[in-house]
Amino acid sequence: MIKLLLTAFFALFVLFLYGPMLAIFTLSLQGPDGALTFPVRSFGFYWLGQVFQEQRVGSFVESFQRSLWLGLAVVAIAIIVSVMASMAFRARFKGSLALFYLTISSLVVPGVLISLGIGITFQVLDIQTNWFSSGLGAHLTWTVPFAFLIMLGVFNRFNPYYEEAARDLGAGEVRTFQEVVLPLILPSLIGIALLGFTLSYDEFIRTSLVSGQYNTLPLEIFGMTTNVTSPALYALGTLTTLFSVTMIAVGFGAYKSLSRQ
Amino acid sequence: MNPDSAQPSRIVSSPPVSVRSADADGRADAGQMPTDARQGIVTEAAGVALRSVTKKYGPVTAIENVTLDIPAGAYCCLLGPSGCGKTTALRMIAGHEAVTAGEVLIGDRVVTQLPPAKRNTAMMFQNYALFPHKTIWQNVDFGLKMQRVSKAERTQRVGEILELVGLSHTADRKPNMLSGGQQQRIALARALVTRPQVLMLDEPLSALDENLRVRMRGELRKIQQQFKLTFIQVTHHVEEAFSLSDQVVVMNHGRIDQVATPTELFNAPASQFVAKFIGDNNIFEGRVSRTCRINGIESVELTVEGIGTLYCQGSAALNATAACSVRPDLMQLDPVLEDLAAPSTETNQVPVRVVDVEMTGYVTRVSLIVEATGQTMLYKARTTDWMGAGISVGQPLRATWSAEDCVFLPS
C-alpha cells in the first residue's frame, strides 16, 4: 500500500520534472506557423532549423561555442587544481582547515555576490570583464569546490599503499602519479569533468555581470527570453537539452567503461 | 591456557536430535509453551522447528525442503560454506525472510506468517547493527521502547542488562566509541533485553580478531547457560561450531547434510561434503567391491583406482560408487614398504611420499602424495612425535589406518 503510494508520488514527481520540458519539446516541433503557446498548429522541424539560421538579434551558435570552450577550460583547471589541492590534504598542513572552509564558503556564497564582487573588482581595477577571464573565474568559484570535495572523498578512500608500493619499486613522484594514482582516480575525474562541464555550461547567475562583451549560451538564452518571440527559443531549449543529455550519456559511458577496467 | 577448557560441561537437554522426514506430522515435541516475555529476567526457552521449508528467489532455490528440529535450550549452529543457505534459514526463523513453502514453528506455535517482533525471538546481527546515531543506552532500550514497555521498567531492565555485560559505564557513548568486543556485548545485551525465547546470532564473532573470538566464544556459551535460551547461530567456522554447539547443522546447497553433536560430526561425517568441510579428512572415492564383517561389524571393501582396496565400516550395495574418509590424525606413517603387497582387511595401506612439512605449533601438518594417482593426503602428528620420527621431505612412506577409523561415505 505504502509502496503503491510512493510509486505514485514518484511518478508524479517525474511528471513534474519532465512535464514542462516535454511541453517545450512539443512546441519546438511546430511548423513555421507555430506560436509560443498551445495548441500546436502543425508539426515540423522548422524551428529546430531556425536555431542555426541567423536570428533577428543575437546568435546562438557563437555563444554555444563560447560556452563549450569555457566549459572545457573550467573542467581542465578545476581538475588540475582540485587534484593538487586534495593531494595536499592527504598530508596535514597548516591552513588546511582554512582552505577547506574557504572552499565550502565558495559554494555557499550566493552567486549574485560572486558576480557583483568580481564585476566591481574588475571595474574598480579598470580591467575589462570577459567570459574567458572574469567569467572563467566566476565559474571556477562554482566548479572547483565540487571537484575538490569529490576528490577529497576519493582520496579518503584511496589506499596509500599503492603509492608506497610504486615508490618501493623505484618510481619517482611523477611516475608514481602517472602510473598508479592517475589511473585509479581516472573514473572520478571523468565524473568531475562531467559535473564541472554541466555546472559551467548551464551557469547563469555567477556569470551574469562578468561575461563581458560576449555572452555565454545561458546568458544569450536569457537575453532571448526577452528578445525572441518565436518557438525558436523552445527549439534552442530542445537542442541544448539534447546536447546536455548526450554529454551525460557519453560521460556516463566513459565512466562505466573506465571503472570496469 | 585453552579457554575452552573452562567451559561448563555440555548439556543436551532433549533426546538425541534427528533429521525428521519431510512428511513428519504433528507438532514439534521439543517446544514448550512460550511464557510472557516480560515476566522475570529469564524466559523459558522454546524449541524451533522447520517443516519442509523451501525458499526461492525467483528461479533460484536458496533452501530446498528443509526439515529441522532444534530442541529448547540447545545451542545450535548452522554450519556451512557461504551461499549454503544457512543465513537464509536463520532469517526465516527470525521472520526477516518470507517462507516460500513449509512452516516455521517456535515452541508449538506456527509463526510462519508472524512478523519478527511477534515471534519471541531476537537476533544479533553480523557486525552487530548497533544504531550509530543512538547511545549505548538508547540502543539497548530500543526494543523495549518499541514494545511500549513502561519507562520505569525500561530503565530498570536496561540498567540490569548493561550491568550484566559489564558495560554500564558506556551507557552514554555512541557505538563507534566502543571496542569490537564491547560492541559485541552490547549487541548481545540489546538482543537479550527483550527476553526472547530464541536468540539468533548471525556470524556474531566474524568481526573480531582471533584472540577475542576465542574469548567471546566462552562468553556466548556462558550467557546461553545463564539465560537458558535456545541459541541458533550461523557460522562458517568449524572450530566455532564445535566449541559452542550442542547441535551442529551442516548445510550445503540449500539442504541439510547432517545434524549431529560436534563429536558425532567429528568422528562420523555423514557425507563427502561434511567430511571435507569439517576437517582435513582424506577422502578416497571408489567402488564397493565386497561387503563383509570385520570384527563382527558390517564392513565394506572399496576398490579405489590406482590405490587398491580400502576397508571401512558401513554397508552398501555391491558395485555402488562410494567413498571413505580417514582423519589425518588417525593414520600412521611407516617407512617400511616391503609388505605393502599384502593388504589386510583390517588395515588400510597406501604408499605415499612426503611433499611438505608444516610445523604449526602443537601439531605438524605433513602433506603427502599418492604417487600412483597424484592424490594429495594430509597427515597430522603431534609435533613432538614428528620430530622424533626423523622423516624427511621426499621420503617414500606407507600410510596405514584401521578399518575402524575409516568412515564409509555412501554417495
Binding site: F10, A23, T37, I104, S106, P110 | -
Partner: protein, 285 residues
C-alpha cells in the same frame, strides 16, 4: 633536500586553489564590503565612508519587506524540497530492489538538472499561463469558469520554479545518505518490534539528517540570492533580495547593491553555520 620538499609539497599543491579563491572569492567580497560604504550618483560611485546605504536599507519598509519575502521563498522552497526529497529518495533507496533499476530511476531524476535552468524555467510558461495547458485543461473539465491566474506570475509560480530547479540538490544528498544506511539496522529495528513508521522515525530519518543538512545548505544558498526565477516566473512583480540587488546593479546603484549583498551574505552565513552544527561535512565525503 628531499625532506624540505616533503614539507613544502602540500603547500605548493594547495597554492593554485587558494589563489583562485583569493582572486575570485575573497577579494571580490572584500571589494563588495568596501564599496558598500561608498557613495553614488546616477552614473558613478565615489570612494567614501558612509553608512548611508545601510541606513537606507534598514529604514526602508520595502527592503525589509523584501527580506521577509526572500525568507518566505527560502522557507517554502526548502520545505517543499525536503517534502519531495524524502519520499523520492526513500522510494529509490528502499522500495526499489534491483540495483540497476535504482540507478536508472535516479538518473531519471538527475537528467533535468544537467540541462539549462533558463530553459527549464521558461518551459513552465506555456503550461501555466492564462491560456496555458493547465488552464485549458481546467476549463475543459469545467473545474473553473475563469482561467486561474495565480498559476503564473505569482509567488506560487516562483516557488514552483525554484523547487523544480533545486530539488535535485536536496534529493542527491538525501538519497546518498539513505543508500549508506546499513540495511541490517532496519532489520534489527524490525526484529525489535519497530513498526514501519518507527523505523522511519528512529532509524532512517536520524541517519538521513546529514544528507538533509547538506541539501539544505545548497537549497538555502541557491534560493537566497536567486533572481532569475523571481524575474521570469514572477513576471517582474515579485521581489527578493537577489532581484533587488540585480535591479540596483541595473540602475548603477552599486554601493546600495553591495550593502544589500553584505547583509545577504551575513544572513546566509548565519544559516549555513547553523546547519553545519548539525553535520560534519568532512565526515560526509
Amino acid at each position: 633536500m628531499y625532506k624540505s620538499w616533503k614539507v613544502l609539497q602540500p603547500y605548493l599543491l594547495a597554492t593554485p586553489q587558494t589563489l583562485i579563491f583569493l582572486m575570485f572569492l575573497v577579494f571580490p567580497i572584500l571589494m563588495i564590503f568596501v564599496v558598500s560604504f561608498w557613495q553614488f550618483n546616477g552614473y558613478a560611485m565615489t570612494p567614501a565612508f558612509t553608512f548611508e546605504n545601510y541606513v537606507n536599507i534598514f529604514s526602508s519598509q520595502v527592503s525589509l519587506a523584501t527580506y521577509l519575502n526572500t525568507f518566505k521563498y527560502v522557507t517554502l522552497v526548502w520545505g517543499l524540497c525536503v517534502a519531495i526529497a524524502l519520499p523520492v529518495s526513500y522510494y529509490l533507496a528502499f522500495c526499489i530492489k534491483r540495483e540497476s533499476i535504482r540507478v536508472l530511476l535516479f538518473l531519471l531524476c538527475t537528467i533535468p538538472f544537467w540541462t539549462s535552468n533558463i530553459i527549464r524555467m521558461i518551459s513552465w510558461i506555456p503550461l501555466l499561463g492564462r491560456e496555458g495547458l493547465v488552464n485549458q485543461a481546467l476549463l475543459n473539465l469545467n473545474l473553473v469558469q475563469q482561467p486561474v491566474e495565480w498559476l503564473l506570475y505569482s509567488d506560487f509560480a516562483i516557488v514552483l520554479g525554484m523547487v523544480h530547479l533545486y530539488n535535485f540538490f536536496m534529493i542527491a544528498p538525501v538519497f546518498n545518505s539513505m543508500m549508506r544506511i546499513d540495511r541490517t539496522l532496519i532489520t534489527a529495528a524490525r526484529d525489535m518490534g519497530a513498526s514501519g513508521f518507527e523505523v522511519l522515525k528512529e532509524i532512517i530519518l536520524p541517519l538521513t539528517a546529514p544528507g538533509m543538512a547538506i541539501g539544505s545548505i545548497f537549497v538555502v544558498t541557491l534560493t537566497m540570492g536567486e533572481y532569475v526565477t523571481v524575474r521570469l516566473m514572477g513576471g517582474g512583480q515579485a521581489a527578493s533580495i537577489g532581484k533587488l540587488i540585480s535591479t540596483q546593479i541595473g540602475s548603477l546603484q552599486y554601493p546600495l547593491a553591495a550593502a544589500n549583498a553584505v547583509i545577504l551574505l551575513l544572513f546566509t552565513l548565519v544559516m549555513v553555520t547553523g546547519i553545519l552544527r548539525v553535520v560534519d561535512i568532512q565526515k560526509e565525503l
